[in-house]
Amino acid sequence: MALLRCRGLRKEFAGQVVLDRLDLTVDEHRVVALIGASGSGKSTLLRCVNLLEEVDDGTIELDGEDISDPRVDADRVRRRIGMVFQAYNLFPHLSVLDNITLAPRRVHRRARAEAEAQARDLLDRVGLGAKAHAFPDGLSGGQQQRVAIVRALANSPRLMLLDEVTSALDPELVGEVLTMIRDLKADGMTMVLATHEMGFAREVADEVCFLDAGRVVESGPPEQVLGEPTQARTRQFLRRIIEAGRL
């Protein structure tokens, strides 16, 4: 069953068309990788799905509900979607534990003890149990990003949106974050991830979508889109990536 279905999405910024009649369907427990040049609209698409941006046309359905309808409660929708950003966006004034328990306590009205027990459990599982009381600026980039993923997971989301979550990391820190995403997939989490890590997209994604100028130009299984692309623009993009040594 389709968990997320975007139809004919359009988004403009000051007259510039950033998403153009974009369609995307994500079935439950599936992982979709969005690839494409910088500025092709990957982040904008994820932000629209999370209702951080208003679409200018088209519909977005989550679990069959039209969430692009202005009458829906956006806060309630966002509770079902976890989002992780390129720059981590942890709250610098809160400890790791407080970053993670903020939404469970304030949004889901859980008791502090219960929320903290859940947070510690999640932290232990990703090997960050010792950092519960640290502050974000005392952590490495990889650790911050793993905390950000845990923070999103603490809401028990139906869908995770990951926006180039390894792009700001030093190469040796990328692995620990990718491992975490692999584990999420093994747990059956539905994910849409924008990425520049083609090798990782090939490994973890069930489907790869190549975006160009706000449209899905080509999509399909990773072996096909990354291995034998049919579209000239996809081939051109992949050639540049290979030249940059990232495949």
Binding site: A74, R79, F85, N89, F91, H93, D137
Partner: protein, 281 residues
């Protein structure tokens, strides 16, 4: 884990010894130049032809001691006013700043009122607000009119609230939009985002300028004496008029400085700490 035993190298020992010598030098030089400057100042002032006259009319210990109780009484009023007005102005400033961030057409009148308030009270001289409230409002002869002191305090809160609102607003705007996106993506409402994510960061960042305005307020609370209540400066003025001697003013001035020192020290400490946090982050 215990760090391994470390024996400093000869080069490091030489460097440490040199640094120690340097810091002894610095202390000696500082002490000498301070003593030289101090002596020069004392000689210049006490050697001035009018020094005796000035000392008699500004530094008379007897008159100072006589005036002290009245001036202290007045200072107690300053302290109470400062505490109440600072709390009121900080609260008002925060509320106004938050109201100005509200988006959407429903809030247009609220936004407009809040903006109008900050424009008006930042532009209006405090003395005029004070006279309007303490002399004008009682003239209405309404039932249950608060005392002149409360009205004077209100004038201070209104005026400083306008300044503080702008400081708070600058702090709110300095919080990066990605923090809002992160909070909203977790399902926090606008109010929750403000309360738990934006305001704590904003207030920390603007704590130094906020405290600076509180130090300024400390000096301005005395202006309520223009409307009647007797603060430290007014008490000194009365004592001066009785003794034909300016010593009471000096007493009041010293007391004001003593009162300000803790507040200024806290401000410096907070400023230093936030500067460290920013460069260390």
């Amino acid at each position: 884990m215990t760090p391994r035993e470390h024996t400093p190298s000869a080069a490091q020992l030489r460097r440490s010894a040199y640094r120690r010598r340097q810091s002894v030098h610095s202390v000696l030089i500082a002490a000498f130049s301070t003593a030289a400057l101090g002596t020069l100042l004392v000689v210049a002032v006490t050697g001035a032809p009018g020094w005796d006259r000035v000392r008699r009319s500004f530094l008379d210990p007897e008159i100072g001691a006589d005036a002290l109780p009245a001036v202290l009484d007045g200072l107690w009023l300053n302290v109470r006013l400062l505490v109440c007005c600072a709390a009121g102005a900080l609260l008002l400033g925060l509320v106004i700043a938050v109201l100005r961030t509200l988006r959407g057409p429903v809030f247009f009148p609220v936004r407009a009122l809040a903006a109008g308030y900050t424009y008006t009270f930042r532009g209006l001289p405090l003395i005029i607000v004070l006279y309007l409230l303490t002399l004008g409002v009682p003239g209405l002869r309404l039932q249950g009119m608060p005392s002149v002191l409360v009205l004077g305090g209100l004038a201070l809160v209104l005026t400083y609230g306008g300044y503080l609102a702008e400081v708070f607003r600058a702090g709110i705007e300095s919080v990066h939009p990605s923090q809002l996106a992160a909070a909203r993506s977790l399902g926090l409402t606008y109010r929750q985002t403000m309360r738990h994510v934006v305001l704590p960061q904003a207030v920390r960042r603007v704590a130094p300028p906020l405290l600076n305005d509180v130090v300024a307020l400390q000096k301005d609370v005395g202006l309520v004496s223009l409307a009647g209540p007797i603060d430290a400066v007014r008490a000194a003025q009365i004592a001066t008029a009785q003794s034909f001697n300016y010593t009471p003013y000096v007493v009041a001035g010293v007391l004001f400085v003593l009162l300000a020192i803790p507040l200024i020290a806290v401000t410096d400490w907070v400023t230093l700490r936030s500067a460290r946090r920013q460069s260390g982050g």
